[in-house]
């Protein structure tokens, strides 16, 4: 089945088995293994990518459902010699240990900061219309779809806070 995707700005024409998830299309067919498979069930967030700017679990959607969509993966956010501010903050705050959940955390956080900028409330936001401050509680709540068994959570929160502060 033919699917056209734009991945990190590059158009890709893929001929795929319709059962192929977006995650497996990236990992098995495009060699983009930065997006991780932690559960393949939409339960861990390791596969988080951005589709048309919004974060989703790539394991929980079929590639063929995204014909014409723009997909941003971790590879599109920064490279080892050209880190995004968030990636740099993850390194300096030790926001990871084994690193397996990390691309998902960073994709998720990148999109999450945009959600905050757009005034989206979360479960812990007091004022549903007034926007939210990036408190520890807000960051933790909004990042709870990304599991980290190494438990770098406190450092992930610090990294996000630091990167957001620098951008502001």
């Amino acid at each position: 089945m033919q699917t056209n995707l734009t991945i990190n700005g590059t158009p890709q024409r893929l001929e795929l088995d319709p059962r192929t998830t977006l995650l497996d299309a990236l990992r098995h067919h495009l060699g983009l293994t930065g997006s991780k498979k932690g559960c393949d069930h939409g339960q861990c967030g390791a596969c988080t990518v951005m589709v048309n700017g919004r974060r989703i679990n790539a394991c929980l959607t079929l590639a063929c459902m995204h014909d014409g969509d723009e997909v941003t993966t971790i590879e599109g956010i920064g490279q080892p010699d050209n880190l995004s501010p968030l990636q740099q903050a993850f390194v300096s705050e030790d926001g990871f240990q084994c690193g397996y959940c990390t691309p998902g955390q960073i994709c998720s956080a990148t999109a999450m900061l945009e959600e905050v900028r757009n005034g989206w409330p979360s479960h812990v936001t007091d004022d549903l219309d007034g926007g939210a401050d990036l408190t520890t509680e807000e960051i933790s709540e909004r990042m709870s779809g990304n599991l980290c068994r190494c438990s770098a959570y406190p450092n992930i929160v610090e990294a996000i806070r630091k990167a957001a502060g620098e951008n502001a």
Partner: protein, 729 residues
């Protein structure tokens, strides 16, 4: 060329204190960080190999009987399917850590529900997954087998038993005593990267790209499983997406991939699916623990009893060593301990982060809290009063032990003095409580080797088959070599995770950093000696910094000294008498503040602090992260983690991350960690001890003790879920 060293006497020289480069201990970033945050670090199932086929494993639907693949021929004909393999060599369960040989291999007989009994290989992952799901597995002559640890036949573990003095009399005569039974459920390591292997053969030589913690053992386990010589096996594992014990021993997917690749004559990748990780790797055994404590009027322990029951599959010798720290943490002349192993048909039990202490110290620390309450003294004071002068069983000295300092400093940092009385503090609908617990974990040195090469351009390369499973190995080995050779961190390259490199201790038992670090230290010391020889000075008069040697009022760059040569040395450390002459352990203390909802019984952790002493800290940043991870495992043990076994057939009912609840970001407050300055001369020439597991050893008790302080409820059946808390309120 090889620097052999056996740790027979204390290493009192403390050379790392004097190295001019000043890297060891510094909170440096991980050198592999830029790769990990950009998704360019290559994990096991990410190598792009030409012609690779995909395998998916299939499980037994029951816990006994002969395995029949009912529609095997039909499945073999499905589109893309290359093979349906049920080879005799497939593993029943993973090897135990450091087993060094194949575990039980029996794909034709089910021993537990979820056992992986076949692998289906196809051109694409989608085809293999569909074919594996289509395979109908039946069990012939299935029988009723034991799946309940409470009624299973038990085997006493005599090596763990102790009967010293008269505990019964001590309990009878003590003005204060507690006699309590606690239970903890099975836990899953649940590393974020599922177990995965890619096997490829070149003639009779196998290369396995896997996700493993202890490569030198894994290589022998794989060779033994396949019936080939270890020389023919190479395992590559540069990045490991978490292990926590579950990747210590060779797991079923590795052997399946190797067999399939050989049979098909092309590379095959096999990744376990998440439910398979839950069902067919390792669990921490559930435990039933009875703790007896007897104390005099001032709270000095006169007796300590700890009896535990754990379980495992038939044929597995591993018994969760629950009593490990109970032997040495506290005083008490009259002591009795026992451990029994129940045999049953649940998935294999093995090492999960800090086997033994993770649940053993937790329960002991709950009992200590109950005793403090019974006597009416402060829980910290009770601990301080019972720090033994010598090991209470062997009479040996301790090596370094800043246990008292951890308790006192942790209490200060946390603000323990403000602890409310039981059920005393309420904020709206929330009941607030403080709790604390001690931390303790045995310290171990293991044989380990590393090669260090000082190159003509004044850079260095460290090579060993050691792994970095998130522990910080890449960082610390570079720091040790940089300090010893006087090189900035970016002039040392660290190469890990390949069995063609010198065999290391592996990542497990908290011994990785100190053991592999010592091998690097030794190799560097030998290089220093050779440099000194070239300069005709005593090695101790040589100061190395920023690629230059300073000696006898002269300065010379390393490249000038080397004159185009390279110096390569192999460091090789073995444990010696210091492992048994003294009691070596790491210590610490946890403090937690919880809020328990008055109506629902929900517990939220507001603050949590840990103070730890583990010898010399090699990298303050990565060591702290290890402690954060351990404490968070403790949060999971306290509140949410439980493998639920179906009482009828013993299968894991919650075999996924939506139903097995590891802590998420919102469950974990901004934990604080204090690392106490310490040197342990008995441990190794670096005076460093293990830190990877200390943070979990008792952590859960600080939380459950805080729940009691908030609510007056003692939950003795872990985890302290809402239903159990509310039932007592």
């Amino acid at each position: 060329m090889t620097e052999h060293f056996k740790m027979e006497t204390p290493a009192t020289e403390r050379r790392l204190d004097d190295m001019a480069q000043g890297l060891v201990g510094a909170p440096l970033d991980r050198p592999e960080g830029p790769l990990k945050v950009t998704g360019t670090a290559t994990y096991a199932n990410e190598w792009q190999i030409e012609g690779m086929a995909h395998g998916v494993m299939v499980r037994a639907p029951g816990n006994s009987g002969r395995v029949i693949l009912a529609n095997r021929d039909d499945v073999a004909k499905l589109p893309g399917v290359l093979a349906v393999i049920q080879d005799d060599r497939l593993l029943r369960n993973p090897a135990q850590g450091t087993a060094n040989e194949a575990p039980v291999q029996s794909p034709h007989h089910a021993a537990y529900l979820g056992q992986l009994i076949a692998v289906v290989v196809a051109e694409t992952f989608e085809q293999a997954r569909h074919a594996a799901q289509s395979l109908q597995v039946t069990l012939e002559n299935a029988q009723m087998v034991q799946v309940d640890p409470a009624t299973a036949a038990v085997e006493p573990q005599d090596g763990q038993a102790l009967d010293q003095g008269d505990l019964d009399a001590a309990m009878r005569d003590a003005p204060h005593s507690v006699d309590l039974v606690y239970t903890t459920p099975s836990h899953s390591s649940a590393p974020m990267e599922p177990h995965a292997s890619i096997a490829s053969w070149q003639g009779g030589d196998l290369t396995l790209r896997g996700s493993y913690q202890m490569l030198k053992y894994n290589r022998n386990e794989l060779a033994d499983s396949l019936g080939i010589h270890p020389d023919r096996v190479r395992i590559i594992s540069p990045y490991v997406g978490g292990g926590f014990g579950s990747k210590l021993g060779l797991a079923p997917e590795a052997v399946a991939a190797a067999i399939a690749a050989q049979e098909l004559g092309r590379p095959v990748s096999v990744a376990l699916q998440r439910p398979q990780v839950f069902e067919a790797t390792m669990r921490r055994s559930e435990t039933r623990q009875r703790v007896r404590l007897a104390a005099d009027a001032e709270g000095r322990l006169t007796g300590l009893g700890h009896d535990a029951r754990v379980s495992n599959l038939p044929g597995e010798s591993f018994a969760e060593p629950v009593l490990q720290a109970s032997h040495f943490l506290y005083a008490g002349a009259n002591r009795r301990m026992s451990l029994e192993l129940a045999r049953l048909h649940r998935m294999c039990a093995g090492s999960v982060r800090a086997p033994g202490e993770a649940v053993g110290v937790t329960v002991l620390e709950n009992a200590m809290d109950e005793l403090a309450h019974e006597i009416g003294i402060d829980p910290v004071a009770l601990r301080l009063r019972n720090i033994p002068e010598k090991d209470p069983e062997s009479g040996k000295d301790y090596s370094s032990r800043r246990f008292r300092e951890a308790l006192e400093s942790g209490a200060e940092a946390f603000g323990w003095a403000d602890r409310p009385g039981v059920k005393e503090r309420r904020e709206g609908e929330w009941l607030i409580g403080y709790g604390m617990a001690s931390a303790a974990r045995v310290n171990v040195l293991m044989e380990s080797q590393a090669r260090v090469t000082l190159l003509p351009d004044g850079t260095a390369r460290v090579e060993t088959d050691m792994t970095d499973i998130g522990t910080g190995t890449y960082a610390i080995l570079g720091q040790i070599a940089g300090d010893m050779l006087g090189l900035p961190r970016d002039r040392v390259e660290v190469v890990l995770g390949d069995t063609t490199l010198p065999p290391a201790a592996g990542s497990g038992g908290s011994w990785g950093a100190s053991s592999s670090g010592t091998s690097v230290y030794l190799a560097c010391e030998a290089i220093r000696r050779q440099l000194a020889q070239r300069l005709e000075v005593d090695e101790h008069d040589l100061t190395l910094k920023d690629g230059r040697a300073t000696y006898a009022n002269q300065v010379k760059s390393l490249s000038d000294i080397l004159q185009g040569d390279e110096i390569a040395k192999l460091g090789h450390v073995k444990p010696g008498d210091t492992s048994t002459d003294v009691r070596q352990a790491t210590f610490g203390a946890y403090f937690a503040e919880v809020a328990v909802h008055a109506a629902s019984g929900e517990t939220r952790i507001r603050r949590m602090h840990g103070s730890f002493a583990a010898g010399r800290i090699l990298n303050a940043k990565t060591a702290r992260s290890q402690c954060l991870g351990g404490m968070t495992f403790g949060i999971g043990i306290a509140l949410t983690e439980e493998l639920a076994f179906d009482p009828r057939d013993g299968h894991v009912a919650n075999h996924n991350l939506a139903e097995y609840h590891i802590p998420v970001n919102a469950d974990v407050p901004q934990l604080t960690v204090e690392l106490l300055e310490e040197r342990d001369d008995w441990a190794n020439p670096m005076q460093a001890k293990g830190i990877g597991e200390l943070g979990i050893c008792g952590a859960a008790a600080a939380i459950t003790n805080a729940i009691h302080n908030a609510t007056g409820v003692r939950v003795r059946d872990y985890p302290a879920t809402l239903d159990k808390v509310i039932a007592g309120m």
